[in-house]
């Protein structure tokens, strides 16, 4: 092995310089009771459960969806049979953007990046033979979150499940869409109204549902550093709480159902510190800024997914190793739920075999590595504690800047987080380009001849099937009932009614996702972002 060059800088994947050695001086200002606390104790730096994973393992929740609802239903049954403990729905782009399969922009996109769900009929097929009263489902859906949630509730009701005990998650996080993933439809303030409507509706009717999953995942994938992911995600969380309070709700009535979703990236210690910092910041924000009194409002619960952006198309089997390390960081950081990416995801959606191997990776960590035996095993590490404090401080600086702009909605309208992320993304790419940062198999240790891996190829047949089903649906349903439900939705949206009961009526009439989203487009218009590079 050649020696490491003396002039090499030692930084995390986020570009944060790290020292060679950390000692007790690095953590001298920490006070155990004030800044760490035992697991299950404020400020929850060491975790929200006193017994860690001894009481309960994290939920192994593999994100999946492709093609038609029939295709995906089969994949779900396979994942559950393989020992998966929860479901997570990946929708296709037409569904995510509130467009039916027959819309011009849907051409070539139906069933490609996820499963296509056009109406309640598709939702019934998606969960056929799966008892929604017995497991929890997470649905990655944002602009049309209310519409898809309404469909889920109706399917659960038809299966005989009780809404009061039903549990699961809708992502429902529009702010990170404006910031990073860009699957927005309506302008920010109208979008926030949909979200606070869900908060209010669930408080009364679906009290165990996680009404939002405030997501850093996509912010990180778009190029943010660990500190930016932490800061923008938690500042988004603050914005949602503030809007809920401004809509007239008591903070402790809805805040306990707010959950989070982080990326678990490649820099092992930085990620563990990030998760620990997130819990500490959130508990203090909820107590000091919002005066929450219910401990459940203070506790940050999160799902983690390994970093899709770190996967390489070159030498794809290396991705198994990357994912295992990232998953380990999420577990050591105390995640409540985890998705591990499959080795072929830089190339396509995963095959059944690669998806199973990804799940096995979690099972090996849980049952063979021994890391579940001890709560917060890195607590007290000079390095990890110092990184935790440094990340917290950096996040609080971002909070102050965004507060100074008037809030996150205002910051987004100015393009502030978007620009910060684009800068970081470009800096990272330059570091890869100059080989200051090594990506194994990409800019070093390159293989000349690589055998191809078999990938899942999704052709146009899913699109054709979904178009045919939509055509049949439109001929068979009671059109008068659909029209009147959509008219009521328009009127409600123009006024101040909660949109959820109106959407439930439209769903029961088999109105499509595109039709419901269009009804709201008629009233609220569409958001167009300034294209800046």
């Amino acid at each position: 092995m050649p020696p490491v060059a003396a002039d090499r800088s030692f930084t995390t994947v986020s570009g944060r310089p790290v020292d060679e050695l950390y000692t007790d001086e690095s953590t001298a200002s920490l006070d155990y009771a004030r800044d760490l606390g035992d697991p299950g104790q404020f400020p929850y730096t060491r975790g929200i459960h006193p017994t860690g994973y001894r009481g309960r393992l994290w939920t192994m929740r593999q994100f999946a969806g492709f093609g038609t609802p029939e295709d995906t239903n089969e994949r779900y049954k396979r994942l559950l049979k393989a020992g998966g403990t929860g479901l997570s729905v990946a929708f296709d782009l037409p569904t995510l953007m509130g467009r039916d399969p027959d819309h011009e922009l849907s051409r070539g996109e139906v069933g490609k990046c996820g499963v296509n769900v056009t109406s309640l009929a598709d939702m019934e097929t998606l969960f056929e033979g799966i008892d929604l009263g017995q497991l929890t489902t997470s649905m990655t859906i944002n602009s049309p979150a209310s519409m898809i949630f309404a469909m889920y509730l109706v399917v659960a009701e038809k299966q005989g499940a009780d809404w009061h005990t039903l549990s699961g998650t809708i992502q429902n996080d529009i702010l990170k869409e404006f910031i990073a993933q860009k699957e927005f439809i309506y302008p920010p303030r109208e979008s926030m109204r949909l979200i606070t409507d869900v908060f209010a509706f669930c408080t009364e009717h679906v009290p165990r549902w996680n009404t939002i999953s405030v997501s850093g995942y996509h912010i990180r994938e778009a190029g943010a550093t660990a500190a930016q992911e932490l800061a923008f995600t938690l500042r988004d969380g603050i914005e949602y709480v503030q809007y809920g309070i401004d809509a007239g709700m008591d903070v402790d009535a809805f805040a306990p159902r707010i959950s989070f979703f982080f990326n678990s990236h490649s820099d092992f210690f930085e990620e563990i510190a990030k998760f620990r910092a997130a819990r500490r910041i959130w508990s203090r924000v909820m107590q000091d800024r919002f005066g929450a009194r219910n401990p459940r409002s203070w506790q940050l619960r999160f799902h983690a997914q390994t970093a899709g952006v770190s996967l390489t198309a070159q030498q794809p089997y290396n991705n198994v190793v990357r994912t295992a390390l990232q998953a380990m960081a999420a577990v050591l950081g105390g995640t409540q739920s985890l998705h591990t990416n499959a080795l072929d995801e830089a190339l396509a959606l995963p095959t059944a075999e690669s998806a199973t191997l990804a799940l096995r990776t979690q099972q090996i960590i849980a049952h063979e590595s021994g890391v579940v035996n001890v709560v917060d095993p890195f607590g007290g590490s000079y390095f990890v504690e110092r990184l935790t404090s440094d990340l917290e401080a950096e996040a609080l600086e971002y909070f102050a800047r965004i507060d100074g702009m008037g809030g996150m909605v205002e910051a987004i309208e100015r393009g502030y987080p978007q620009r910060e992320i684009a800068e970081s993304a470009y800096r990272f790419q330059q570091a890869v380009e100059t080989r200051e940062r090594i990506i194994v198999g990409v800019n070093d240790f390159v293989a000349e001849d690589e055998p191809p891996v078999g990938i899942l190829y999704i052709d146009e047949s899913a699109g054709e099937k979904q178009l045919a089903k939509l055509d049949t649906l439109r001929r068979q349903r009671d059109q008068t009932r659909v029209t009147s439900a959509l008219d009521a939705l328009r009127r409600g949206a123009a006024g101040a009614d909660n949109t959820m009961p109106l959407l439930l009526d439209a769903v029961r009439a088999y109105a499509t996702v595109g039709e419901m989203c269009d009804a709201l487009r008629d009233v609220w218009g569409e958001y167009v972002e300034d294209a800046v590079i």
Binding site: L93, K112, Q181, V309, A346, I533
Partner: protein
């Protein structure tokens, strides 16, 4: 020599614009004139933008799997509008089996994940139509 003019576009419904933005900056840093269309552009809008901007190159960023719908349509529109000398390059997630099909359309600049930015810059420099000396330094085109 006048700068190569490039329209970078995100066709389809996908909003993942990290790649499009990074490459737009890399091309600009390499001395090209870059116009970024923003999100959710139809093939018609992209070709119109290229015409209006007198672009030499259209760079498409496609991650969603819709490339076999979008690319043929762009090539067809360029032919209809007699924009034969506009170079089309594609970056993103393109399965191996589709690469010969895109090549058959005349699209040879296909850049998969992990491609160095410099490779893309060099390909465009080597394949974009030559801007003649008739193009003056104020950017007015003949």
């Amino acid at each position: 020599m006048a700068a190569v003019r490039v329209v970078i576009a995100k066709p389809g419904l996908d909003g993942h614009d990290r790649g499009a933005k990074v490459i737009a900056r890399a091309l600009r840093d390499a001395g090209m004139e870059v116009i970024y269309t923003g999100l959710r552009q139809t093939p018609e809008q992209i070709v119109s933008a290229a015409l209006q901007e007198d672009a030499d190159v259209i760079g498409l960023s496609i991650l969603s799997g819709a490339h076999m719908h979008i690319c043929p349509r762009i090539v067809e529109l360029l032919r209809e509008r007699r924009m034969h000398d506009v170079l089309v390059v594609v970056g993103g997630i393109i399965p191996d089996v589709d690469i010969p099909k895109l090549n058959a359309l005349g699209i040879t600049g296909i850049f998969l994940p992990g491609t160095p930015m410099q490779t893309i810059v060099e390909f465009i420099m080597g394949h974009a139509r030559a801007r003649t000396s008739l193009t003056d330094s104020t950017g007015a085109n003949q």
